[in-house]
């Protein structure tokens, strides 16, 4: 595995995402958060800081999700569409390096996006805090620029890394439209895995419960990465939980990327 090759491919993905106008999402995010901070104060009975915190985290997650899905599904399919895959695999570049480089590039793109969004978000919250009186700030559950919210940002990045891995996996064998549908479906289904776990309460002793139980362990649990509500209300998120969620995400990512490498390695491009 040539690290320099991986780096070059990753940077190429990043450059292409910039060409695809991904940074416009940053402008959209900044406008959304700043506009909301101005308007929301009039209609929320003093809850504008809380709402900006929720809005910022949700917007990071949603913008990141769309970037992850709609660029992720095109990571491989675009190469096939443009027929550039032939020139790439003709070079001394392993197929595994191509997949890993693509993955790393999109992760880097997402990380840069989320980092910039986080900075803008903290700036807006800092400004809102600066405008308020000390007496009013005493009523807040946590400071406006509470650094503990970075835990939620970190887990959002882990979740998006998982979504990218899912999108990349599907992009190695499915058409872009189907890859997007499957990725989004898994994202949504991952939020309902708790229902699968308790499905035996509904079906009783039916063999169906083994299937649902198996699906519960197979599907990625997307809700595990959601600590937005806790950080906004200054509730502690144990470091052990963050570690476990990271390890959980890493296992799924490794499995999906390995599967993507295996599938791509066996595709015949003739």
């Amino acid at each position: 595995m040539n690290v320099a090759t991986l780096r070059r491919i990753a940077f190429a993905v990043f450059r292409e995402s910039v060409r695809d106008r991904v940074p416009y999402s940053l402008v959209g995010f900044a406008l959304l958060v700043m506009g909301a901070s101005y308007l929301i104060g009039q209609v929320t009975a003093g809850q504008d800081v809380k709402i900006i915190k929720d809005l910022g985290l949700a917007a990071m997650s949603i913008f990141g999700l769309f970037i992850a899905v709609f660029i992720g599904i095109g990571l491989v399919s675009k190469e096939l569409e443009r027929r550039s895959i032939y020139s790439v695999i003709a070079k001394p570049v392993r197929r595994s390096e191509l997949i890993l480089g693509k993955y790393a590039g999109l992760v880097f793109t997402i990380a840069v996006n989320v980092a910039v969004m986080t900075a803008v978000w903290y700036l807006v919250l800092g400004y809102m805090s600066w405008m308020e009186t000390e007496a009013f700030k005493q009523s807040w559950e946590a400071p406006a620029t509470d650094p503990r919210m970075l835990v939620a940002v970190y887990l959002i990045i882990i979740q998006l890394m998982l979504v990218i891995a899912i999108a990349l996996f599907f992009s190695t064998f499915a058409e872009p439209l189907w890859a997007a549908v499957f990725t989004l479906a898994l994202y949504v289904a991952g939020h309902f895995s708790a229902d699968l776990k308790h499905f035996d309460l509904v079906v009783g002793d039916s063999p169906l419960r083994f299937i649902t139980s198996g699906l519960y362990y197979l599907l990625p649990n997307m809700a595990m990465f959601d600590v937005k509500n806790a950080v906004v209300h200054a509730q502690p998120v144990p470091p052990a939980y963050v570690g476990l969620a990271t390890a959980y995400g890493a296992c799924y990512i490794a499995a999906l990327v390995a599967a993507a490498v295996w599938i791509f390695g066996r595709r015949d491009f003739k």
């Binding site: 209609v43 929320t44 009975a45 709402i51 929720d54 809005l55 997650s61 009013f136 997307m222 990465f225």
Partner: protein
């Protein structure tokens, strides 16, 4: 063309409910990991709904039949959804309870819903003594059940980190019951400790209302003295002004004049004064009048 359409074919407001999903659990499922944000949306809706309805009442604007605005009947469902989506949404419980308990037409006059909301808040956040304090306040102010108020002040005192004055307040409530002094004390505590400006302003309003009630009592005392001395039963304050007992026509801080209830020989204040009806002293009286029946949904 849009302007022409709006002019020639104005939209008819359809009497549909403003709350399309009344189940917070179902909404929470649909919201995936964005429950907090959806809770904020419902919170904004609840604030706008309450404010809009209250403004309509103040301006004498009659809400359309079936619109849900005649008696604030959507306020509790909106707050219930908000707090189901975000069980830690502190201000939704406290703000919501304060204004659910407000007497009609300033609020729905539903202390039972206020108590239910605060019970939910405490169940989700057992460390927050403020919810039990607010519950005691609802029993004190809206229900006039001083025994229950004292009980819940005592329960609030048991929660760790509750303020040191809480046990004293419970004892005070048990001993004093419904006198104006205890009311003034409670509203002052609320004004001085509330986290939200709206709640502080509401407490300040009630303190002013107590001051106006004191003025009404002094006028009543004066009236009774006048009656016993002159044998006359005045129907206005004009005789007292002519006799030099009063310098001018007594009014509330906004200039609305007091009137005389000639049956009971008491000074009173009626609408459009914002301070009416004035709080009664002493014996617990029934809760403020509210719509007899909330419209069924």
């Amino acid at each position: 063309m849009q302007s022409a359409r709006d002019r020639w074919f104005p939209e008819v407001a359809s009497p549909v409910d403003e709350i399309y999903f009344s189940s917070g659990e179902a909404l929470g499922r649909m919201a995936l990991s964005y429950k907090s944000l959806l809770a904020d949306v419902y919170w904004i809706r609840a604030v706008q709904y309450f404010g809009g309805t209250r403004l309509d009442m103040k301006n004498g604007v009659m809400p359309a039949a079936g619109s849900g605005r005649s008696s604030y009947d959507l306020l509790y469902p909106l707050l219930d959804v908000t707090t189901t989506l975000d069980p830690s949404f502190n201000i939704a419980y406290r703000f919501g309870a304060t204004f659910l308990a407000e007497g009609y037409p300033n609020g729905p006059g539903r202390p039972d819903q206020a108590v239910a909301l605060l019970d939910k808040g405490f169940a989700n956040n057992p460390g927050r003594w403020q919810y039990l304090y607010d519950k005691a306040f609802v029993y004190y102010w809206a229900v006039r059940d001083y025994r229950q108020a004292a009980h819940w002040f005592a329960e609030a005192a048991k929660v760790p980190n509750s303020p040191a004055w809480m046990p004293g307040l419970a004892a005070f409530m048990m001993g004093q019951g419904g006198d104006r002094r205890s009311s003034r004390f409670l509203w002052q505590q609320l004004r001085d400790t509330a986290e939200q400006q709206y709640v502080r302003e509401n407490a300040e309003f009630h303190l002013q209302q107590l001051d106006v009630a004191d003025v009404a009592d002094r006028l009543t005392t004066l009236l009774k003295q006048y009656v016993s001395q002159t044998g006359e039963h005045p129907t206005s304050f004009e005789p007292l002004i002519r006799a030099g007992w009063l310098r001018g026509e007594p009014t509330d801080p906004d200039g609305v004049p007091f009137t005389i209830d000639s049956t009971t020989i008491r000074a009173r204040l009626d609408r459009p004064s914002k301070y009416a009806p004035l709080p009664e002293e002493g014996v617990p009286s029934p809760p403020d009048s509210a719509p007899q029946q909330a419209p069924t949904r």
